[in-house]
């Protein structure tokens, strides 16, 4: 699916890649995502090692940003309390389109261990903002977060920029016929 994979194509040898403008734009976007990190609990501790040299998150072409206005996606890592949920909503709305969200860990996905008696915990960050990739785990290993990042990249790669509605309808038909 990636643009560089087409170099294997026998018709496109000689250093020339044929592609649509959409492919090239998506290729650029998916390989230079800037992110706003929202660390809340132990998942954020795992995320520290993501940024350190061993797992080296920046090799995905991403750069941490301190402000939502420069960020392409937000990483919610940890337990979202009701008090913090309102702040997350504000940050999300400050981000510029196109924007994405990765929810990391059981707490951000569904409330995690606080699902029953957590009177102060939002049972899943998808109740207030749309989530594009869920990373399961309690907390997830850095490899799982890398997998989540790759999922987000492939999601951006497939995204329609032109003729959005037609392509969305096409996708829905594919999903209905179980071809995807």
């Amino acid at each position: 699916m990636g643009l560089l994979d087409r170099l294997d194509n026998p018709y496109e040898t000689g250093g020339i890649i044929l592609g649509t403008l959409e492919d090239i734009l998506n290729w650029g976007r998916s390989k230079s995502d800037w992110y706003l990190h929202f660390g809340l609990a132990c998942c954020a501790i795992e995320f520290m090692s993501m940024n350190a040299s061993h797992f080296d998150f920046m090799r995905f072409g991403i750069i941490p940003r301190a402000t939502p206005r420069q960020a392409d996606f937000i990483m919610i890592t940890g337990t979202v309390t009701l008090k913090m949920a309102e702040r997350i909503k504000v940050l999300w709305e400050q981000m510029a389109e196109p924007k994405y969200c990765i929810s990391v860990g059981s707490c951000a996905n569904s409330g995690g261990p606080y699902w029953q008696y957590g009177y102060h915990v939002l049972k899943g960050v998808d109740r207030i903002i749309p989530v594009h990739v869920y990373v399961p785990g309690c907390p997830p290993r850095p490899e799982a977060m890398e997998e989540g990042m790759m999922k987000l990249q492939s999601l951006i790669d497939r995204q329609a920029i032109f003729r959005k509605r037609e392509k969305l309808a096409e996708n829905e038909n594919l999903i209905k016929s179980n071809k995807m």
């Binding site: 008090k83 569904s110 009177y119 102060h120 049972k123």
Partner: protein, 158 residues
């Protein structure tokens, strides 16, 4: 100084304000006191050189069916002895004198006990919620607490 000696000395000075000494090993032995005299007792425990309790290790709240309780763990860094004080108040009127002016560390401990148990510490300079949002209703660590259905439009139950 052991707990019994501290209890005897306090009994001499404060008479009926010191209710009893519960010595039940292996748990820490503790002294029950009345809430009205609590501030004076704590001041004596800190300022009397024989006691010299300069460190409030922990201040915690307990919920009983009809009462609320505050537990004080005190320690003396110089004398290396410790004591546990307990004060019990009825649930309808849970007022306890603040010891914030005696040990500064009691400031946030008392705010937390107020936040989660609804114990009112009289004389505290800034008794507001510390962990939960300021507009939260109810005291979550009480056994009869029911979690709200929604908070600011967000559904709370799973």
């Amino acid at each position: 100084m052991n707990t019994t000696e501290i209890f005897e000395l306090l009994r001499e000075k404060f008479k009926d304000a010191i209710i009893d000494l519960v010595d039940n090993p292996p748990s820490d032995s503790f002294i029950n006191v009345v809430p009205e005299k609590l501030f004076d007792i704590c001041l004596e425990l800190r300022d009397n050189p024989e006691f010299d309790f300069d460190y409030l290790m922990c201040l915690s709240g307990v919920d009983f069916p009809t009462n609320l309780q505050v537990v004080y763990h005190l320690y003396s860094l110089n004398k290396k002895h410790k004591i546990v004080l307990k004060v019990t108040v009825p649930k309808e009127n849970p007022k306890v004198p603040s010891v914030e002016r005696i040990w500064r560390s009691a400031d946030w401990h008392e705010r937390e006990a107020y936040d989660l148990f609804g114990i009112i510490f009289e004389g505290h300079h800034n008794l507001i919620r510390i962990l939960l949002p300021y507009d939260w209703e109810g005291y979550p660590l009480r056994k009869d607490y029911k979690e709200p259905e929604t908070y600011h439009g967000m559904r709370v139950p799973y």
